[in-house]
Amino acid sequence: MAEVPAADTAKTGAPERAEEAGQAEQANQTKQATKRTLKDYRSEVKPTWCPGCGDFGVLAALQRALAERNLDPRDVVIVSGIGCSGRLPEFVNAYGLHVVHGRALPAAQGVKAANPDLTVIAVGGDGDGFAIGGGHVPHAVRRNQDITYIVMDNQVYGLTKGQPSPSTPTGMQALRRSVSMPKMAPYEGVLEGQLNILAMVIVYGCSFVARTFSSQATEMAKTIGLGLDHPGFAFVHAMSPCPTFYNTYDPWKESFLPLPEDWDTGDRIKAIDKAMEEVGEGVFHSGVFFQEQYRTYTDKLQDVYAKAYGDEQATIDALMDQYA
């Protein structure tokens, strides 16, 4: 994280880390393990995904990005909702919070608000994030906490065996590559329009918006890393095919293009335009669409505290005086 909160950051009553309280042994252990590798972020649980699932790529990329930043696993919290993608925290050697379907973002915001020193990553699927959880995205963006949100978009509901999702292409197109989607859309395919979730997030006011593809390992690790480094809410659109229910490897390999070299990441409208053009053009661009730095929620809270109590927090007795 670029902006480490100042030492006097209020942590909502979260206790100081154990070694600071004097457990020297543990502190030493922590310091020794200074050069971490991808393996340090592998948990003892073997991923349960289908062979070939794109989520393996996302997992590895995230682990690599964490290793590159040499973060202590105890300071990392990965929050997820329900879905194949939602199982990711289990496979990472760090804290994980696997909540109910669609609520990874509110939970992640609570984590970050209560302890801004933590590196907080929310992960989940296209259904988790933009169907049941879609109402939370604009508000997470509005708060601009320093959270990285990785949406593993396979354009299908994997865990429930392959129904169309909000990002599934309209009409018959998707059905040709899916054994399962025709069950839900047996006559005319998907009747509903396809959401452009990348464009949506930009319009919500997101301060970092990027896309990346699970088959492009190095680039994905880099992009996730940029998201982690970005001080504020970072949205990473991680295209991650589901070979079992909607095998998009072939078309996506063709259609992934890097953003133009001279791409101006500071132009919100251009970024939206680019994202909206893609559908017609049948391409995906990878890279950072938009980035700008606004004050984070944590930054703003510092101002609030300055006004609310200045140097010394109020006592409860003082708060009760107003009722006397």
Partner: protein, 578 residues
């Protein structure tokens, strides 16, 4: 007995200012060393509609809103018609003769005071009409002008110098009019004893907020809803002053899941809502049970079902609080009884949540949450605060060896905190084993189900959540919970005084159920009746379900709180004819 006990009601059009008159009067009397208890009944619209506010004043703690009225002041005909039937035969009606016609056939003292005309023609600022009304009341109560003047100066009417003078003038006009017209109700309310900082005037919601902060609450997430919004608004100001964070979320589901996230890191967290919000929260409540995450959820109950009656009171969310979640998702459910108790029960809610690593639902209700009462200032040095069990920080246990859901003797396992402990784990709502690994085997499910149940059941041994009152050899026993305590105990005292053999058992913990106390009470008394503000007898059914005994019921569903008189009548009815 010459105990001071007056019930005063002021009624008018919503938005006209009657509520302010009631508030200022209540605060002034409370500051004068008296005990007060307010009661408001409002329409759900922002403006318009009949609205009333009531102040009951005593020289000892007040326990219920009051039965019939000693003084009714009405500003218009609609309100005259609504309320005049509730005035005692010895009571007084003060009405505005230009705005309404008094029913001469009633055998009541009825005094016309042309509030509107005096304001218009003598005072000349319409905003001061409520100060005038206040003055009419204080002079009728026998409060000397100088005392009343001080009351105004110390009230919101005195806050801004430029208005103070005209407000004092309005007050003076009240005293002049009453004097000129020889009005004297013979009352002399004693207002000499100044109340120091030892007594606080608070609503239930205020007290609950202070209790939460005293218990260490430092994260709050919530979404506005009547009648719980005050909690959020009070904390919006107070929370940053103690270094905490308050988030107004986009809905209740976000509120509770954000709270769960915050608690995961070790913060003490709370969210407050009313019925519709609690309904939306039940999925996440199950998650908190499953992941064993401490969490306090306040439900300020209002009239249901559905959007129902947002500004009315009811005790009808009990079923949902106890049973609301799919699967077996036990949690602790407690209820507060009065304003002072809101403070202490809030503290206990956090202590229980942290100790048992569980969601705790604290039930309040519209009436309890919004009425003002006088309470003794809590001695914070005496308030016990519990912290959650954590791994001993020596770091010798690796995450691979550490069991987040270790099967301890008391079923409560040390909980590592991100940023603090090296024993990181993944909390999941899927069934898991001791190590927090996903496990759907029958064995794991049986063990963990038992852990989650036994842990909660053991909380029944916490002291102070059930209390017996009244006669040892009672013929009739009343069971109540939460905010009906006050009216029940007042009715108990009245009927005991008349020689009836009655007793009461008041529950503040509803789940787990203090079965031993309940059984002992029920088995020792011939007739036991459960007194609650709902239609189906939710607590009665639940008691029967756990104890397999048959209980009588006394239920009221008017949207209004119990009066002591309602219960007194019920007791007499049962014991005379039952």
């Amino acid at each position: 007995m010459d105990r001071l006990d007056l019930t005063i009601r002021i009624a008018g059009e919503n938005g006209e200012g009657v509520l302010t008159v009631g508030d200022v009067l209540a605060e002034a009397l409370a500051r004068s060393g008296l005990h007060i208890y307010t009661f408001k009944n409002l329409p759900a619209e922002i403006k318009g509609g009949a609205s009333m506010t009531q102040v009951r004043v005593q020289d000892t703690p007040v326990r219920s809103p009051g039965d019939a009225l000693d003084i009714l002041m009405v500003w218009n005909q609609e309100n005259y018609d609504i309320h005049v039937g509730e005035v005692k035969s010895t009571g007084v009606v003060i009405f505005d003769p230009d705005e309404c016609e008094a029913d001469e056939s009633l055998e009541l003292t009825q005094i016309g005071v042309p509030l509107q005309k005096i304001t218009k023609t003598v005072i000349k600022t319409m905003k001061s009409k409520n100060v005038l009304a206040f003055g009419v009341l204080t002079t009728c109560l026998g409060i000397p002008f100088e005392s009343a003047k001080q009351m105004v100066a110390e009230s919101r009417w005195g806050r801004r110098k430029e208005f103070l003078e005209s407000n004092i003038n309005a007050l003076k006009q009240a005293y002049i009019y009453v004097d000129d017209n020889d009005i004297d109700l013979g009352l002399r309310v004693p207002v000499n004893q100044r109340n120091g900082h030892a007594q606080l005037i608070m609503t239930g919601n205020d007290a609950l907020c202070m209790g939460a902060l005293a218990a260490g609450c430092r994260y709050y997430a919530g979404y506005p809803i009547t009648p719980a919004s005050d909690v959020m608004e009070t904390l919006a100001k107070a929370m940053p002053r103690v270094g905490g964070v308050l988030m107004q979320t986009e809905d209740e589901i976000a509120a509770i899941t954000a709270s769960i996230g915050a608690s995961f890191t070790g913060a003490k967290v709370m969210t407050a809502t009313a019925g519709p919000g609690l309904s939306l929260m039940v999925e996440a409540l199950g998650l908190a049970t499953m992941e064993e995450i401490p969490l306090v959820v306040v439900d300020v109950m209002r009239g249901g079902p559905s959007t129902g009656m947002p500004t009315k009171t009811e005790q009808s969310d009990l079923n949902l609080a106890i049973h609301g979640a799919h699967g077996e998702a036990p949690r602790i459910v407690i209820a507060a009884t009065n304003t002072e108790d809101c403070f202490y029960t809030a503290v206990k809610a956090f202590n229980l949540a942290e100790k048992y690593q569980t969601p705790v639902i604290l039930l309040s209700d519209q009436h309890l949450s919004q009425r003002a009462q006088v309470m003794s200032r809590p001695d914070l040095s005496q308030v016990e605060v519990v912290e959650r069990k954590q791994p001993d920080g020596n770091g010798s246990v690796s995450p691979q060896e550490f069991d987040r859901y270790e099967m301890t003797e008391d079923y409560i396992s040390p909980m590592p905190l991100p940023g603090r402990h090296g024993q990181h784990y993944v909390a999941t709502g899927l069934e898991h084993d001791e190590h927090a690994h996903i496990d759907y085997s029958p064995e794991a499910h049986i063990r963990m189900t038992e852990k989650r149940h036994q842990k909660i059941e053991s909380a029944v041994n916490e002291p102070g959540f059930v209390q017996r009152y009244g006669a040892e050899d009672a013929q009739l026993g009343l069971i109540g919970w939460g905010s009906s305590e006050g009216p029940i105990l007042e009715a108990l005292d009245r009927t005991l005084a008349k020689g009836y053999k009655v007793a009461a058992l008041i529950f503040k913990m509803l789940h787990p159920l203090p079965e031993k106390e309940a059984r002992a009470f029920i088995e020792s008394i011939p007739v036991v009746s459960v007194v609650e503000l709902n239609a189906s007898g939710q607590f009665a059914n639940y008691l029967q379900g756990r104890l397999a005994v048959s209980l009588q019921r006394f239920n009221i569903i008017t949207g209004l709180p119990f009066k002591a008189g309602d219960i007194e009548e019920y007791i007499e009815g049962v014991l005379q004819y039952g």
